[in-house]
Homo-oligomer: 244 residues x 2
DNA sequence: CACAAAAAGTTCTATATAGAACTAGTTGAC
DNA sequence: GTCAACTAGTTCTATATAGAACTTTTTGTG
């Protein structure tokens, strides 16, 4: 029961420091669903007992997961999964319109194994990819047309999953089904006339002004594991970013 | 010589933990230019001697600044400024064009004590404000027309400072002259036709498409101390944001 | 039963210490 | 002069400990 170290056998176990191995173990157990939300994770004392490490080392590992947005610690009560991790950070992407309460609808319009264009392949480190096309709308208005590229080595099978199993948010799915945790991302916002194909999807005239958001998403170790580009009609677009 | 605590007198000194106060002090000294790039900051030992704190506490403060991207530590050799810190955080605002190496030129075109419009007054908590208009250009092309609002209670006198004393970057000035440290900000990017007055400054036709960036900047304790809106020609605009 | 007080359990701050890992410069042997 | 060995200085990992701060549960009192 106690030691999980053996049962997990992380790939990253080349005599890394103890706090990193513990962090990886905890992250893996979180991703595997060992703890439900609103149930406390083992306390510092329990973990020191389980692992044989000291409090400082355990705290260091847990603090990393807090910094990465996976956990949340509440003084006096315990350590928990961070429920709003995804809405708050990765999903603020779309504070479009005025109400950011309702989650946009999401519809997949294409999924296929394809070879990625050079630019995408360079970012992801491979051309062997899966391409997903998705439309996002709110109250029956299309707000965004997305094109998403994923490396097949990590996401094989996502192209045939039943659409019903794919929620409006992809990052939780990545974690649940493919054990990929998106820790950070870089967004690039610019404006350009909409290409005809995209304009049609958005229901705007060809060459009408459109906002373009390019995103590269990374795991905790800095590997790029997703690239996407989204187009939206510029008059309804709003991008919010919290700095510092 | 030793203790800097007195000489700086941070606004955020409501008996915060020691490591946070040290972090703030170090951040302020970095922003003030106390250390040149490629010169090591005081070592852990020196700082423990200066501050009377323990190594662990000093390390905690420095680690925060590393996480925030301000510092860089090299085992065996020392702690240094991270060269691209300013571009990357406060100044990444304008990764316009392709080269982010050259700092844009900056020209003040108006400064006055005025009463702020309701919306701005609500954010800043007062209508008694200073309004600054600024044009930013790169290689003789105007990229951005800014309008900046500051509460007079904190920034009194900035409207009459000689322009020669005002560099291209305002946040270091805020810190140097007014002891205001910008700790975070929220940017809001959208897209709208340029009003005639602004279009004229940008050298584009009236009602031509323009990018609009609204920023609210905060001190460490969460008080809004600056509000600005910037317009730029949409075809040259690019906004980069690092999430997570 | 209601409510206050106490207790137990949790995270958080801070100190002190030891040695490992790494870097850069100095010394010494040849 | 060259190069290896040494040394001093730095950050990094890890442990052990103490009490503060906060939350939740239990206990005791009326």
């Amino acid at each position: 029961m106690a030691h999980q170290d053996q049962t997990i056998s992380r790939a990253t176990d080349k005599r890394l420091p103890a706090y990193l191995r513990l962090r990886d173990d905890l992250a893996a157990r979180v991703a595997r669903g060992d703890w439900a939300p609103d149930v406390a994770l083992p306390s510092e004392n329990q973990l020191t007992a389980e692992t044989g490490l000291s409090v400082g080392t355990v705290r260091k590992a847990m603090q990393m997961l807090v910094d990465e947005g996976l956990l949340e610690r509440r003084q006096g009560s315990g350590t928990f999964l961070r429920k709003r991790a995804f809405d708050a950070t990765l999903f603020r992407f779309f504070a479009m319109g005025t109400d950011s309460k309702t989650i946009p609808q999401s519809r997949l319009v294409a999924r296929a194994v394809t070879s990625a264009p050079p630019r995408v392949a360079a970012v992801l480190g491979t051309g062997d990819c899966i391409r997903i096309e998705r439309l996002r709308s709110q109250s029956d208005t299309v707000l965004l047309a997305e094109e998403i590229w994923l490396p097949r080595v990590r996401f094989d099978g996502i192209e045939t999953m039943p659409e019903a199993n794919i929620g409006p948010l992809l990052y939780p799915l990545y974690l649940d089904r493919f054990n990929v945790f998106i820790a950070s991302a870089v967004d690039d916002v610019s404006f350009a006339p909409a290409p005809a194909a995209i304009a049609a999807r958005l229901g705007i005239p060809a060459d009408a002004p459109a906002a373009v958001i390019e995103r590269t998403a990374f795991t905790a170790d800095g590997t790029a594991v997703e690239w996407r580009v989204a187009h939206g009609p510029s008059d309804r677009f709003r991008y919010r970013s919290r700095l510092g």
